[in-house]
């Protein structure tokens, strides 16, 4: 009879919930089919590691019951930690973004008596207790006086026995009692249970997640896999507010669940949904609980932003503070172990507000959002096209901090792509090309030269005053640093139209990467012809030696190389001045 009633309530609440879902909302992390068993590892703080087969429908309480005989005596209690959080009893494991071979961390609490007294250092139990207290304060007494500890720390969970007896029916999260309030039921039925019972219901639903992201001022309220965590980290407060207004005004966004995205270099070789994980920066173990939730990318990407409690004995005993070290795993494949991490591509997000790509005018998702003030958006296809066209024109810029990179397509101030792994989207071949040119630019920026011999291009870092350069480690070609021809004595004869190159200003990057004239007298006839054509049609940029053709217009030249952009005079073959403008602007 009781289970019948439960079943009815279940279907009722799932119907109520479905009313709150956005139209075509599809939840990526919805529970996998029942038949699919998850094989995970449980690692204890004492160093044990056991493998467990579990059904995604299991709750944490059920898993604990399953684990207890293997890990500890019945008097002892276990807390389970995953991705920086102690998992609440009521959480359905399938709603965590656990994958095959994921590792859960179990901490065995020594005795119930000692666990009940507050330990010297603050623990997760403290936090949960604190949260409970907060819940009691914030909730009307009528609602929570009966069961303030509904979804919090396991040891106070009144009905663990009920749960074990319920083990046959593992379809849904079990409930402690049928006398619970509506709020508690709703919460339990939600895809991602909250640590605090007083939590605003939030699930896969973007609107709910937004609300949750907005209202959660308190610490440690959500799991790292929650949609609200993704929203909090990816969107600024302003963006969240805009999105909320957009939803309130009835504009249908994409309605999808937000995710993190990573580049999985192996085995997936592509952009995949990423899973945020955390470990201790001292012992690199995952048995940590966060002092506070990460709220922005800086918290996640910059080391030592957020403190954590580490349960590893060595760290626990040490006086030093442990910091949370966030990392990402690819959700596209079964994890290959602790080292199997992936680079977060933080500019990629779900297109929740449904912004059109500024290039193709289509609404796609996910998209690349640039870090400029205007948050310009490109869809992934257009981003790839944008990069490829700039790469082919060699218009990437070498930035001393970031490397070889691009600004947003509108060229906004301070909009450079800071994580160059985003260029992995170009595919292996193009990325190799990108890396090759990036290396060349880095050598040039460091004051080095590239061997001018065709097919070589070896990077060299000779002394600043060295003019006779030998391609050491490369082809052995000996060349003149000034004209990039085969080494010679006397003045350079190339392209200077009457002025010795040696008299020209020397900048940090006095070298070229694509002069093709070094094989004069050595190569085939077309080489000679090409060299002659280049020589007769072009002049080298006085700063970087890029052969430049003047196809028309005035004598004021601007170097076409993105990292040079030198303003020079075609006539004087030196920096453009007002004198040039006055004397021979038009030749």
């Amino acid at each position: 009879m009781f289970s019948l009633l439960l079943g009815w309530l279940k279907s009722f609440f799932s119907q109520v919930l479905s009313l709150f879902q956005i139209g075509s909302a599809k939840s990526v992390s919805s529970p996998p089919p029942e038949s699919q068993m998850l094989s995970i590892f449980v690692r204890t703080n004492t160093g044990e590691k056991i493998q467990v087969q579990l059904a995604p429908e299991w709750t944490v309480a059920q898993l604990k019951t399953h684990l207890k005989p293997q890990l500890c005596s019945t008097q002892q209690h276990i807390k389970l930690i995953f991705a920086g959080k102690e998992l609440p009893e009521s959480l359905v494991l399938g709603q965590c973004d656990l994958g095959q071979n994921s590792v859960l961390h179990a901490v065995i609490l020594v005795t119930s008596a000692s666990a009940a007294t507050p330990p010297t250092s603050p623990t997760v139990s403290d936090i949960t207790r604190r949260v409970q207290d907060a819940a009691i304060e914030e909730f009307p007494p009528a609602n929570c006086s009966e069961k303030p500890n509904l979804t919090t720390a396991g040891k106070e969970y009144a009905s663990s026995e009920t749960l074990t007896s319920d083990a046959r029916d593992m379809q849904r999260p079990t409930r402690p009692s049928s006398t619970d309030t509506l709020e508690s039921f709703t919460l339990l039925d939600l895809p991602c249970g909250k640590i605090s019972g007083a939590e605003t219901p939030a699930g896969e639903d973007v609107e709910a997640a937004l609300d949750a992201a907005f209202s959660e001022q308190r610490e440690c309220q959500r799991l790292l896999c929650d949609a609200s965590t993704v929203i909090t980290i990816q969107l600024s407060q302003d963006e969240q507010e805009q999105l909320r207004q957009l939803k309130a005004s009835g504009v249908p966004g994409s309605g999808e669940r937000p995710h993190f995205y990573v580049f999985c270099s192996r085995p997936c070789r592509g952009v995949r949904v990423g899973k945020l994980r955390v470990r201790c920066n001292r012992c690199a173990q995952g048995a940590v609980t966060l002092h506070e939730d990460p709220t922005c990318w800086k918290d996640v990407l910059t080391p030592k932003q957020i403190l954590c409690w580490c349960e590893t004995p060595a760290c626990k005993e040490a006086v030093k503070e442990c910091y949370a070290e966030f990392y990402f795993k690819c959700s596209g494949h079964v994890t290959l172990g602790d080292d199997d991490v992936a680079v977060p591509l933080y500019m990629i997000r779900a297109n929740l507000p449904g912004v059109v790509c500024l290039s193709c005018a289509e609404v796609a998702s996910p998209v690349i959002v640039f870090e400029c003030e205007a948050s310009h958006v490109l869809c992934l296809d257009c981003f790839i096209n944008y990069c490829l066209s700039k790469l082919s024109e060699r218009q990437f810029t070498h930035d001393s901090e970031i490397g070889y990179t691009l600004p947003c397509p509108v060229n906004c101030f301070d909009s450079y792509i800071k994580e160059v792994h985003h260029f992995r989207l170009l595919g292996d071949d193009q990325y190799r090309r990108y890396q090759h040119w990036a290396t060349e630019e880095a050598v040039l920026a460091a004051g080095g030269v590239l061997c001018p011999r065709p097919g070589c291009g070896h990077g060299l870092l000779p002394d600043a005053d060295c003019v006779r350069i030998t391609c050491v480690g490369g082809c052995g070609f000996v060349f003149c640093r000034l004209c990039l021809q085969e080494y010679h004595t006397g003045e350079c004869w190339q392209l200077d139209h009457g002025q010795p190159l040696s008299s020209l200003p020397r900048s940090a990057s006095t070298a070229s990467f694509n002069v093709d004239t070094s094989r004069v007298g050595v190569g085939a006839r077309w080489d000679v012809a090409s060299a002659a054509a280049i020589q007769s049609l072009t002049k080298a940029c006085p700063q970087c030696r890029t052969p430049t053709e003047r196809s028309g217009g005035c004598m004021h030249m601007v170097c076409t190389r993105a990292s040079c952009r030198f303003n020079w005079c075609w006539v004087c073959h030196k920096e453009w001045t007002r004198d040039c403008m006055a004397a021979h602007w038009f030749g």
């Binding site: 005018a361 397509p409 028309g552």
Partner: protein
């Protein structure tokens, strides 16, 4: 509309037809949706006032990653436009960005007619005269407008 035409071009074309820029008309060619017949009216209080200037605008395959190709078909005496009608405009070259549109390009060209920029010339002789003897340059520009841009 030709099949395989990017949505962006379709959208831009529709908007150009629905809300034309004052003083500018741009119509896609019947046989090639990437080729536009453009007519720009000479801006008021410029030497080109009263003139009707025909241009051609072509959206290359890479558009919007690369700029549209625009050329004056009507002869014009302007320091930034050469004998072949080629236009010296930064947004058509290195300042192009995919966030710009056909509409913004045409507006810029209209603005260029209002404010010739002899400091960034394409037609050397015109630019030189424009700098040395502006009244004479403006006189010639007016004359060319009457001769070439008012006939039909």
């Amino acid at each position: 509309m030709a099949s395989g035409l990017p949505k962006r071009i379709i959208k831009e074309t529709q908007r150009l037809m629905a809300e034309p820029v004052p003083g500018i008309s741009a119509k896609p060619d019947e046989s090639n949706a990437r080729y536009f017949h453009v007519v720009v009216a000479g801006p008021e209080s410029s030497p080109f006032e009263g003139g009707v200037f025909k241009l051609e605008l072509f959206l290359p395959e890479e558009y919007p990653m690369s700029a549209p190709k625009v050329r004056f078909m009507t002869k014009i005496y302007h320091p930034n436009i050469d004998k072949l009608g080629r236009i010296c405009l930064d947004i058509l070259k290195d300042k192009w960005s995919p966030a710009l549109q056909i509409r913004t390009v045409l507006l810029s060209i209209q603005a260029l007619l209002s404010a010739p920029n002899p400091d960034d010339p394409l037609a050397n002789d015109v630019a030189e005269l424009w700098k040395v003897n502006e009244p004479e340059a403006i006189r010639i520009a007016r004359e060319w407008t009457r001769t070439y841009a008012m006939g039909n």
